[in-house]
Amino acid sequence: MRYGICLEGKKEASLISWAIGRISLAERVRIPLTNSLRERVEPMIEIGEDVGLGQKIAVPASVDSVSVHASISGRITDIRDFPYPLGGMRTAIEITAHEENRREFYQPIEREDWNNLSREEILKICQELGLVDLVPEMHPLHKKILKVGEKSSFLIINACESEPYITTNHALLMSHPVEVLKGAEILRKTLGAERVLLALEDHQLEVAELIKSKIYFLRWKNYEVKLFRARYPQGNPSILASDILKAKFEGSGKFAEIEAPVFDAATLYALYEAVVYQKPLIERPVTIGGGCTVESRNVWLPIGASFQDVLRKCRGLLREPGKLLMGGPMRGFAQQSYEVPVLKGTQAILALPREVVKKGKEGPCIRCNRCVEACPVEISPVLVATASEFGDFDLARTYGAEQCIECGNCSYICPAKRPMLDWIRAAKQDAIILEEDFVDIHQNQEQDLLSGAKIR
């Protein structure tokens, strides 16, 4: 990446302790059945039924989807549409904790000879235990593995968290380094990759040292740690993969999915637990923070716990936040209600203060060229956005609108506070017809925003 921007990290508060804490379990969870419009699952329980922790509650009805598991033990109280953090409503199963069958922790059962599983068995485990890539796109893991090409020589563990506040991967690698490495080894065997590369940013030196020492003691020769300059959006899989392959950036997908597959460190940890301990994906590490929370920390959260419960368990908010976000401040999703559930792709729950999210008054472009210098894919955001603003989407695409990876640098850097990314996205969406999940996500969010509700 030639350009990119320097963002203030603001990671100190949640890194006071590396330990990822556990808060006492939620009383009620709402587990969304699907995470993209292509997935189809069949619920296999009835309202009123009792379920145990980790029990399967929905089976996949198509190859694109994964199973869903109960993330707390309790009673099924509802199956209907609930607010979804990426916008709109999604069908979710509501489980309310129950005194009779309360179980606090998942009892691990070690799988026999987990070291010698075939590729098909791993794929089956991924689908059965509900594994997805633990990033907001939430691609099912078995699909992602199937997509990887035969001649991929690299496996990249992505621990670059280039967005401010988020430290889940940092904390996870500090507290469970060997588990993540073993998860990577399982995946490496499955993919047939030769080398594994852990991508870190240059402020994560302690992680680099720890992982290097673990690799040394494990005597794994084909593992290496690579530090990148801490610039946003270094953690973008496509940019990371093209940087590592030293190739020209080829847009979303090609490198990151086929030639040098990029997996989040949290995904590898979940894979390790699923393969070795048969644990379904019922919880994930999440950074709670953003400046308005009393406690900023990393915690394991059950999938489906509502933001409200989570914030309350972390001793609540200091003041009313300007925005409640799922994910980082650059690419996260603003929430209209506190009732939305934690998803498998929720990396952070951030309550940002008013003065941080405050946007200045929009003015005319003064052609300062800062957006061009910030753009990681080296298009000219100002030309694209201006063409799009005047309704000429074709011209905007000639200027390279489709190459945009929606990192948000141009909107961030613009001194005239112009919503550059919104214009670019408008030009893009005229072009792309619901091809990728993240397009669904943005469109859903946009439709939902038309109603214009604010956080109360």
Partner: protein, 308 residues
Amino acid sequence: MRVKTQLPPHISASSSVPQIVWKIVAALFPLIGVSLWFYQWDAVRVFAFSVLGSLTAEFLCTFLWKGKLTLYDGSTILTSLLLALMLPPTLPAWMIILGSFFAVFFGKEVFGGLGHMPFHPAIVGRVFLQVTFPVSMSFTLQPLEGLSRPAPFLWMKEEIYLNMPPLPGLLLGNYPGTLGETCIVAILVGGLILFWQRLIYWEVPVLFVLTVSLISWGMGLHPWESVLVGGIIFVACFIITDPVTTPLTREGNRVFSVLAGVLVCVLRKWTSSLEGIGFAILMANALTPWLDQWIRPRGTRSNERGKR
């Protein structure tokens, strides 16, 4: 159309347009200080009437088109200060007011205000005054003495210098000239402030001055005396570094400054205007959209030829 502020990114950089413009104004302070020292009350008079004329234009436009007053972004003040620095201290008050009114009204506001003007407004005002009142524009005072004398002048057509002071005087600007174009040291301090605040690319002034110097040398003139008079350094640091009227990309800006340098030399040599620099900048400004179209980033995923 609607601004969807709920969409990411949710944070934004702290810099703003008014901040950038006021920083440029601050970079003019060394120059303003020197001109006040050189010409005392004459300088005060020029600055005051220039600001007055530009404010009149701004208020008139707000009134005419029922827009919002945008004084806070500082661009009107910046235009009037830049114009004042390019005027001789002896210019009558009504001419100053007229020129600065013209600069803001026809240079900036008729195009839609800050960010929309194709030509640099201060240069528009200066060219207007030069064309309309050539005699008043060419007489000036000896600094610190108050004697009326003609400005030193490079008669390129004949390859002779008139009233040229020695080199230290050329750098300090202690010779008759306009308010702000003579003191090279103060201009360079301002330029360094702009560079330090990352408001300009260093190549832009450097390439411009080098181009003018080399071409003048090729025409048989003194390589550095030809750039030290006639406001070349001032234009290099403060006029062609203006973001609005110059190309977007760094590469485009390099081409722009070379082009402007060539035009300055051409106009100095082969036209009847005394100092072709104003027209040269206006012509280069007019080429900006073409430069933008020609030199633009093509993206990393593109097969188009051109800038990577």
